[in-house]
């Protein structure tokens, strides 16, 4: 057998071989290569249904890989500079949860920035771990949460020397990076694992001049959303591990919650996308950055809008910036980010990634065309001309420090009572209040409800942010500890 290299895609190749064998299926899935569900087959295409197959000897098994999946994972590890890599089919959410479940048992402390994804806090409910939040710096002008400053991490470590792990976003949704190398050194010096949420950082591994990757910085585990900038299908991700992580134990942890019927559509999409990035990632991301830089300079030329970039770097809480992100501060044209987000879709048929109180984020990738970038810029120029206001009084602070009074798991399962939002101040919340996207919690189970938080919830609702997480779908009532 010839040695495998990055030009190979073992799962993809096995599926092609398998298709040629024309095996008669007396196994699941019951659609039997699509023949049993023609409407779905017409919609998704025969080629797609043909490879929606079950684990079997020629195709390996994700729960216990011994052949083509194992090979594909080895190639992925190589491509990302990791000791081991696992294919994940439950989204980066499942990867983040697995990292935390690997690192923490019930009652263990984990240091994390408040602007973690909700999947990380959900993992705390699953494991019973206790969060030690590091308040991220906030850029007062833009109203966005930044990275963690090294001194705050130092302080958290000093105050919690028994913590088992520290979690870092690399980068945040907005493209902002902490000093990952320094934080990793600090954590390792105190015997803590470093877990990195790289949901928005796949391209760091393949493009030039991007911020440092978790694996290069010596971090222990990273969750990488291949389906974001990497081009694979939605819900597919990689979990990367450094030398010191026991990959076999990690697999057991993953198998606690992972499906036993992993989709070969997702697996092959990861395999093919890894190959593509390994072979031509440099050019792909150079083009992406070029488009983002162009859009940034044109949007800044419109006036009012501020499309920010590396000039924000301050050596600490903004240690680095991901220039492939097109984040724009919209308040100077008198419009909240969420308003611009809605106008772009409703008036101009342009869907962007998200809008928060003061910012929007347009996701740029190699799939974009120059002419679509021109449309986005022109639409923003038109929005300013048609809808722009001056002197709008806007709440610009999005980030509110949490007061954790109970472990999330304890609060989540405790006896609770529902109270109207206005009467909830001073009580301990037992559920999430999320402003989505970007999916960073305003309240998590076990946290104290303050008047400031109530005011913020009302404001975000009024501005049309999508609020989720509560039992009461309209967020007029909150569940609190009895």
């Amino acid at each position: 057998m010839t040695e495998l290299s990055q030009v190979n895609a073992p799962i993809y190749e096995a599926l092609r071989r398998f298709r040629r064998m024309r095996v008669v299926p007396f196994d699941v899935p019951g659609h039997k290569r699509g023949r049993g569900n023609m409407e779905l087959t017409e919609f998704l295409g025969e080629d797609c249904m043909n490879v929606d197959v079950n684990s079997m000897k020629p195709l390996d098994n994700l729960c216990h890989p011994v052949s083509v999946i194992k090979d594909a994972e080895m190639l992925a590890a190589q491509a990302f500079g990791a000791a081991n890599a696992f294919f994940m089919v439950g989204g980066t959410t499942s990867a983040v949860q697995s990292m935390i479940m690997y690192a923490c048992k019930e009652g263990d402390k984990i240091i994390m920035p408040r602007n973690v994804h909700r999947s990380a806090i959900n993992a705390l409910i699953l494991t019973g771990a206790v969060p030690v939040y590091v308040n991220p710096d906030v850029n007062k002008q833009l109203g966005i949460a930044l990275g963690m400053s090294v001194s705050q991490v130092e302080q958290a470590i000093r105050e919690n020397p028994d913590a088992k792990a520290i979690m870092v976003n690399n980068p945040t949704y907005y493209g902002i990076c902490s000093d990952l190398r320094r934080i990793t050194e600090l954590a390792h010096a105190h015997g803590m694992l470093v877990l990195v949420d790289e949901a928005h950082g796949t391209h760091f591994y393949f493009g030039d001049n991007f911020p440092v990757t978790a694996m290069a910085a010596g971090a222990d585990i990273a969750s990488v959303s291949m389906h974001k900038s990497g081009g694979s299908l939605t819900q597919s991700s990689f979990l990367l591990m450094g030398e010191k992580v026991n990959a076999d134990y990690m697999r057991q942890v993953i198998n606690l919650t992972q499906t036993t019927s992993a989709s070969y559509l997702l697996l092959s999409s990861l395999d093919i996308s890894r190959k593509r990035l390994a072979l031509s990632g440099k050019e792909i991301f150079a083009k992406t950055v070029e488009m983002a830089e162009y859009a940034r300079s044109e949007i800044n030329d419109i006036g009012g809008y501020y499309a920010y970039s590396r000039e924000l770097i301050n050596g600490d809480s903004i240690y680095d910036f991901d220039v492939s992100k097109l984040s724009v501060f919209t308040l100077p044209v008198g419009l909240a980010g969420i308003e611009v987000y809605d106008l772009l879709r409703d008036e101009y048929d342009i869907q962007i990634e998200f809008g928060d109180i003061g910012n929007i984020l347009a996701y740029i990738s190699v799939g974009d065309r120059k002419r679509d970038i021109e449309r986005l810029i022109s639409a923003m120029s038109e929005i300013k001309r048609r809808f722009g206001r001056t002197g709008a009084d806007m709440l610009s602070h999005e980030y509110i420090s949490p007061v954790v009074t109970e472990a999330p798991r304890k609060a989540f399962y405790a006896e609770k009572v529902s109270v109207p939002l206005d009467e909830s101040a001073g009580k301990v919340c037992t559920e999430f209040v999320m402003c989505y996207p970007p999916g960073i919690p305003i309240l998590a189970p076990g946290e104290l409800i303050t008047p400031e938080i109530i005011e913020y919830i009302k404001y975000a609702k009024e501005k049309g942010c999508q609020m989720t997480g509560t039992e009461d779908i309209n967020i007029e009532r909150l569940n609190v500890l009895k």
């Binding site: 044109e298 101009y348 002419r371 021109e374 022109s378 038109e382």
Partner: protein, 283 residues
Amino acid sequence: MELWFTERHTPNVNFSIKVDHQLYSGNSEFQRIDVFDSKEFGRFLTLDGYMMLTEKDEFIYHEMITHVPMAVHPNPRNILVIGAGDGGVVRELTRYTSVESIDLVEIDELVVEVCKKFLPTTACRLDDERVHIYYEDGVKFIRRCENKYDIIIVDSTDPFGPGEGLFTKEFYGSCFKALREDGIMVNQHESPFYAEDAAAMQRSHKRIVESFPISRVYQAHIPTYPSGHWLFGFASKKYHPVRDYEPTKWSMLGIKTKYYNTQLHTGAFALPNYVEEMLRDVE
């Protein structure tokens, strides 16, 4: 030997012209460009396989997209033309002595080059000293223009491919901004006949209605375009295309035309009922 050019007008309707010989075929950064010679229609230009113009019927399109706004505006001096790399609109515009400047924005330089070489019938006046050619995406060019033009003529290809940005609301809004307070925008408005063209026509009409206080549609008969029944959009900040039209004033200019005349100007705005209904549906 028989060599035919065929364009698919719908999945079930083809339109074919017998080709005498092919004069040019090439690919630009944006599209495939072909020029053919034919016995029936003379030379014709196609982009990505879609008919742009033939020597035999181009006068209809170019006269109707140009003279209608030029006859309504009392004093058109600064004109912007977007698309139109074949030069047909510019040829018609240069016949007005009142015109001081014509900015032509064409995304594809190769189209202009090919037309200059093979289609002198339309590209004949591109060297007029009032004409300035910008090779740029029209969506980008117009973003920076404000209160600058009396008339904008949008001579776009179809609402897919490189011209698709010229059918968007952000583009029409930018045109509004680029026009003076009595400016007029005229655009290629697709056809009401086949379902897919009609949907594009309605979509673009809706966006124009939302961008301009006055928005009317007029028609012409163009044999080589799908169904032959073609529409133009007339969007304006101040002048109504029929009520503010002074036919004698235009006649006095003494411009000789093959299709356009002053009665036809008014008549072209009278639309079949089914078209009126489609337009009303989105107004």
